[in-house]
Symmetry: C2
Subunit: 543 residues, 2 copies
């Protein structure tokens, strides 16, 4: 397989020519670009040309150079020309440059993906050719739940590397939920001192209590580091502060925001926690502090406000909330849900930040005109959202990668399944059955990993890869056209993941230590995905 | 605290002068050094001056330069001179350069320890001054057991970073044991296909079976990557292939090497596995293949052969082993133990590699003249080994960092304890009570982390730090002279660990999620360390 045919995701056009471009430490770089592109290229070359403890053989004839421009073409697009004398990147913006740099790295020998390795005898060289490329979708994302299980910043930084290697450009961090609050607050330190840990975990509603304290959080400096590191790799971090449901940890830290008289604690089971915060002005003020700190740390152009699975029955009965509802002209709790989210959304908009919500928020009217919706509850919810708003496709099937990868007996426990590599490859972000207007509203998609059953980084790798490779192809190239060709190319691509040390699931089934065994990780009942999908459609009209 | 007073470990001499040296991306570097030093400096500067996504303000007056030499002085030594115009390092060798570079990094603002961060308003600058430095001991190590729990290569690479930040220079990887074989073999692939995993784990002899398959291994390329990455940071990787005891995983992969008729399986409990391999020529041939592959991958100048805790009663009864013993002129199994290790040691010596053994190997004569002994069983075993051989101090007390850090009620989740920060700081590698010859034989020391009860990288961090900071001071500076001053300096140093994202144990006790809780991880009884030490001395004369 020639190097240009082995690129993953597949570029729009890629054509090999003859000869090689030799990368050398002292290569001159001509750069016309923004500050971010400048830093990105510097960082990339420093990594690629990092000194090895044996000399890099240099065997160039004549002078060589690298030329990079980030203002020729549409956002995300790039043209890469590799000749023996010149490596030339003409991109529409920094993200386009990032995509081109990933392509360059894929053209080099696989060991370039290691953090230290001897170059091959012929040195680091890329075969010559031309790539003309543009992404099918502008939002190519991954959502990581760092609440149910916490992943330290080193894991998130590595996740950024793995995403960038597949030309993803969004990392959605699910930072808060019932089971924990995972970010420091300087103005409300109770959020990280109290909200960041639980005394034990019950594995399922009828599971045993593990008796082991669990927790952790990112400092605001950590979050800034993650965002900065990601930006240099073409990835925008999208923080999620999930309100008004999924707030047990928030209520444990700030009991005054919850239902008066109700005992408040960080939830110790992995399932959803039921109740909600009061949608009052006091709560909004509190959240404004939190949102300001997060926006300042990340410089995020998007903030996800959650809005899903909210129990709000008690709102009408509570005098304070009832007064707030009356003042807002809301007669039903779900109207108030929409009002509350819109109000927070306006706070974000004043700071130049677009709000994102799950599809329940769209249903209750908790959206502004330019809000983005993520519809997790299947086709009906997605189509409805796309009728009025920009949509990032994130339906449970097939983008919840925490589900089983097959119906094999030995697959490790998750929430059901399967969602196979083929299911992901067959995903159509903008279905033909939708109207042209709806299809135009699909700005991209992302995979989700909810981590109730994901205790370690190794298990995260196993769930994400290689399914993320297939979604990368769908979102960058528009579709996986030929599954047999894709599988062959993926087999080749897995050698890059080997060099990066990714604990992916092999194509023919899990490794012995990735399998479920007989204990608590023994897998769930096979074939459950059909029931799950039917259930999803049945609830997709509920706020 | 001025920057020169905040260095940890403390240099021999450090004196601030006035002004600052400004690090800038285009700084000229004059380098007289070996290939390794050249690569090391390039790697260091690339990391330090990695581009950030905002501009680095440069505010230099006149021209500045970096000058580095690696052949002035004894091995490991360095002199660092920082003036407004010049950053000058004169070191005895590459390790000396590595030590100096760590000092430079400690002189810079703390955020330089992050992987991406905006520089302070004044840029990256180091206050001027002079450091004259030399290590008290040439072997400053850490042993990591990657068998009982496996740590992927990314964790090991990060461990290298953390060690280098404290001027450690040896990483001893305990690669094989009863519970797994953690390195690929091209000649004997059964070692990584069969030996690398166990179907479940029992947490203690009377603990429940977790029913969960567990495993993993490094490819030879991974091992080469780790060794190369470490070398660029002044650290030598020391692989351990533990024979002839602790070999359940080896015997599971190659049953012919074990006791005929005995069922063989990778051990599923966290405790030692009893039996051993046959010390025959066939076994030696098999191990030669393994050792050659490991030496080739790592370029290691030392290989640890284990030699501890070997049950060899069956050797006299087995006809094949009895014949081998007769041929070797051995009448007792323990003589054969020594003979077997010596023979493997000669194989290593022919390849320019020094052998290392635990103190049981020294007791049975399993050492060559230039072998290095690690004595884990207390003072008596250490003193005996130092009478005849180079000794790396690794006594259980106080260098087994898998023991509890205090007797606090919430701290109990290891094999007993405590081994406190103060215990480590008070450690005397070469006791006054020893003869000058014995004291001269002490080439250094290392801390051990056995990972029976260390399921995650976060828990590894918690056990290693800050105790490793105290051992770093003992091994580099010779002793912690003033505990109050050290604690104050350590408090300052922890901000560097915060920037690196280290999950260390705070000085005033574990964080909520670092404590033992009430579940399976709560286990040790307080104050057990006295009994453990008495038991160690009682067995220290047994082969």
């Amino acid at each position: 397989m020639d190097a240009y045919a082995a690129l993953l995701p597949r570029p729009v056009k890629a054509r090999p020519t003859s000869g090689f471009f030799q990368l050398t430490p002292d290569i001159p770089v001509t750069l016309s670009g923004s500050g971010t592109t400048h830093a990105m290229v510097g960082s990339f070359l420093a990594e690629l040309l990092r000194p090895y403890d044996n000399a890099i053989p240099v065997n160039t004839t004549g002078s060589t150079e690298v030329v990079i421009t980030d203002s020729e073409g549409d956002p995300g697009t790039y043209t890469l020309r590799v000749t023996p004398e010149r490596l030339e990147i003409r991109a529409g913006d920094s993200e386009g440059v990032a995509g081109a740099l990933t392509t360059v790295r894929q053209l080099l020998p696989d060991s370039i993906w290691r953090r230290a390795a001897a170059p091959p005898a012929e040195g680091w060289r890329a075969p010559c050719g031309v790539v003309e490329d543009r992404p099918a979708y502008g939002w190519r994302g991954a959502m990581l739940d760092v609440v149910r299980h916490f992943f330290p910043k080193r894991t998130v930084l590595r996740y950024v590397d793995l995403l960038a290697a597949h030309r993803f450009n969004r990392l959605h961090l699910h930072l808060t939920d019932d089971q924990g609050w995972r970010v420091q607050s300087l103005r409300h330190p109770e959020l990280h001192t109290t909200g960041s840990w639980r005394p034990s975990t019950r594995l399922g509603p009828d599971g045993p209590d593990d008796g082991t304290p669990y927790g952790g959080y990112y400092t605001l400096d950590d979050l800034a580091e993650i965002a900065s590191y990601a930006r240099l790799r073409g990835i925008t971090v999208v923080p999620e502060i999930n309100v008004p449901g999924h707030t047990s940890a928030l209520r444990a830290a700030a009991p005054g925001l919850g239902r008066p008289g109700e005992p408040q604690a960080v939830l110790d089971t992995v399932w959803a926690g039921g109740t909600s915060i009061a949608p009052t002005a006091a709560t909004e003020d509190y959240l404004h502090d939190v949102l300001e700190e997060i926006i300042e740390a990340t410089g995020a152009p998007y903030v996800h406000l959650g809005g899903d699975e909210c129990s709000m029955d008690w709102w009408s009965e509570d005098p304070e909330v009832a007064a707030a509802m009356a003042a807002a002209g809301c007669t039903e709790p779900q109207q108030m849900h929409g009002h509350f989210l819109r109000s927070l959304g306006r706070f974000l908009a004043e700071r130049g930040v677009r709000m994102i919500v799950w599809d329940e928020g769209h249903l209750t009217g908790g959206v502004l005109d330019d809000s983005i919706v993520m519809a997790w509850r299947g086709e009906e919810a997605s189509a409805r959202a796309a009728a009025t708003h920009d949509l990032v496709r994130s339906p449970l099937f097939p983008t919840y990668f925490n589900f089983d990868q097959s119906d094999l007996e030995e697959e490790r426990r998750s929430e059901g399944g399967p969602i196979t590599l083929e299911d992901v490859a067959a995903f159509t972000p903008a279905p033909d059955s939708w109207s042209p207007e709806q299809r135009d509203r699909v700005i991209g998609g992302q995979f989700q990993i909810w981590t109730e059953w994901v205790p370690s980084e190794r298990h995260l790798d196993y769930l994400a890869f290689p399914r993320a490779c297939a979604l990368a192809e769908v979102l960058w190239s528009g579709a996986v056209d030929d599954m047999a060709e894709f599988r062959a190319r993926l087999g080749r691509h897995l050698r890059r993941l080997d060099a990066m040390g990714v604990d992916y699931r092999p194509l023919d089934g899990p490794l012995p230590w990735q399998s479920g065994g007989t204990g608590v990780w023994r897998r769930s009942s096979p074939g459950r995905i059909k029931e799950t999908r039917a259930w999803l459609e049945s609830i997709s009209g509920r706020p």
